[in-house]
Point group: none
């Protein structure tokens, strides 16, 4: 009984997500309207808000799922053996994150959760990024005198830094990967003996 009801709920939620993804495919994230999502999912607007606290909660979930997809790929790939190959591995994720100004803004806004109980999908991916990256770094030819988790957080910092500057007309003449590499070379490599 309870099972059946849950399944209806899950179906409706899935329809909402599906509708949202359709719209995003057509108009981008910034073009998504709550009214339209409900309409396409064939449910009432009130139903939307019964499933998602607000529009941002939906966005958090959708964008979080995308990032998770990239992390799956990263996790499944062979560990990089140089900063350059690390940058290459990160490119799809970075391209997504910088695909729309709106997407980047949402990610930044939700990368830190507002409260403990409210850790959303995007915030979780930021935590997962650290884990995945730390594992990778521990396996590769990178400096071993520093906690891999700290190294990983540094990579995240440089990634965000580079993406933020990417929205600047002055800076995006230089491709993302070219901008990111020097940071990682200094940050990750065991220092040559002085």
């Amino acid at each position: 009984m309870t099972q059946a009801i849950q399944s209806r709920t899950l179906k409706t939620r899935a329809r909402l997500v599906e509708a949202a993804e359709e719209i995003i495919a057509e108009t981008g994230y910034a073009g998504l309207r709550v009214d339209e999502v409900a309409r396409r999912a064939g449910v009432a607007k009130g139903t939307f808000f019964a499933h998602f606290k607000d529009k941002d909660a939906l966005m958090d979930r959708l964008i979080g799922a995308r990032i998770d997809g990239f992390l799956d790929q990263i996790e499944g790939a062979p560990a990089p053996n140089s900063p350059t190959s690390l940058v290459t591995a990160l490119m799809p994720l970075m391209q997504f994150m910088s695909s729309e100004r709106y997407v980047f803004d949402v990610i930044i806004r939700y990368s830190g959760a507002a409260a403990t109980e409210e850790i959303g999908p995007i915030a979780l991916t930021f935590e997962r990024f650290i884990t995945v990256m730390a594992n990778w770094l521990a396996m590769g030819p990178f400096r071993k005198d520093v906690d891999p988790a700290l190294l990983a957080e540094g990579v995240q910092a440089f990634l965000v830094q580079v993406l933020a500057l990417n929205f600047c007309a002055l800076n995006n003449v230089t491709p993302i990967d070219v901008r990111l590499r020097p940071f990682l070379e200094v940050w990750l490599m065991a220092p040559s003996a002085v």
Copy 2:
């Protein structure tokens, strides 16, 4: 005559800025409404837009001025002789940047200018930060095998990273300075030979 008009113009602009600062003192940056700024300055709403392209232009200016104030202090202070003293020197700036979620978001959004002619106050402070920091780093006991400008950009990246996580309930149990220090220690110090 022209003189008189310019003076009136400047006075109006000054009144608008003053009114805005009053409101911010009372309700924070996020609480500022254009309506209210115009009302307090004793001008019509349209007049506001004769002086500022949009609300963000005002915010850019106000926040940029605050950051410049912190950079003045930093520039005037003696160069730090360790990551720890660098962190200490950066604290006032970091505290301001993390004082309000809205402030942090605006700073991130405007840290890269949209176009050459449009480099705004905040973007200028980010460039100035690099210069000031590079000078400082060149003077202190920091690694010399890396371009100081790159080191400075890295400091900026870590600073932003730490602040972003600060808005996360899980992370802000650890004080900002404690979070920043390990990054700078690894990033700035000439590595001991392995």
Copy 3:
């Protein structure tokens, strides 16, 4: 200048009221939708709320205006010389007040203002009713040993009582005027010597 702007404001407001009255003529008071009013008036919905605090404020105004119209007629008519002719004079007003359940409810809700500064049109008509009625009663063959204002308030009380019961299926078999008359006969007439 200010005059011109005021005139534009008045014109817009008039268009809103006009549109509302059209809709009411077609669908009744209960059928009025704010969206539709704005649409017909050719203005944005935001404009509606710039002119009226909320939908109820418009209703207050419209219904108040209608009641005022009836009071104008009453005021202009010759003073009644008996309870029966008073009832007859009140019939158009009573018919309007009981024309729609919704109208009666709004009237009751707004007959007493919520706050001093907020005395709305309907509340004003209730005050005006007392004045008009008191004048009338003072002129006619009614008891003179009681303050006409008190008598007038009593008439108002009986009127509301009769209308309230009129929405009851059991009671509205008896016409309004027949229900009201006995009250007024007792209330208004100089008592016959015992």
Copy 4:
């Protein structure tokens, strides 16, 4: 078996009423939400509607019960021997009726039943009020040349009138009892010969 089911039904209904009364004690009548009633009673929302036709039916019942309580007191008290003592006797009832705007509105709306079969608790109390009052008036030193039932209906009309005006900021400086007394003095007393 049937017994058991009935008992369960009655228990559920009792729990719903209990929950509602709890909420009202905490937030007032206007603050009651069906959601919350069901939640506190530990049943599903749908169950609420299996027991009460709609939310108003619950309100009708709850408020009607309160009024009946006041009528019990009134009925049990000695008959008043003056308009003043009548007013005093009515005070508790009047205080309840004017305790909340929402309560007064519900009472007015339900004081006349919509159809014969649908005479609800509140409507019944209005009928009972007439009976009780007529008995009282017949016993006291009040005018005897008018049907006590008509006198009683008049008392009811004045009571409502006074309460309605009580919600007006201008009028509620004068206490309810002071406002009601003059009406009753004129309405109930055998007029002295002019």
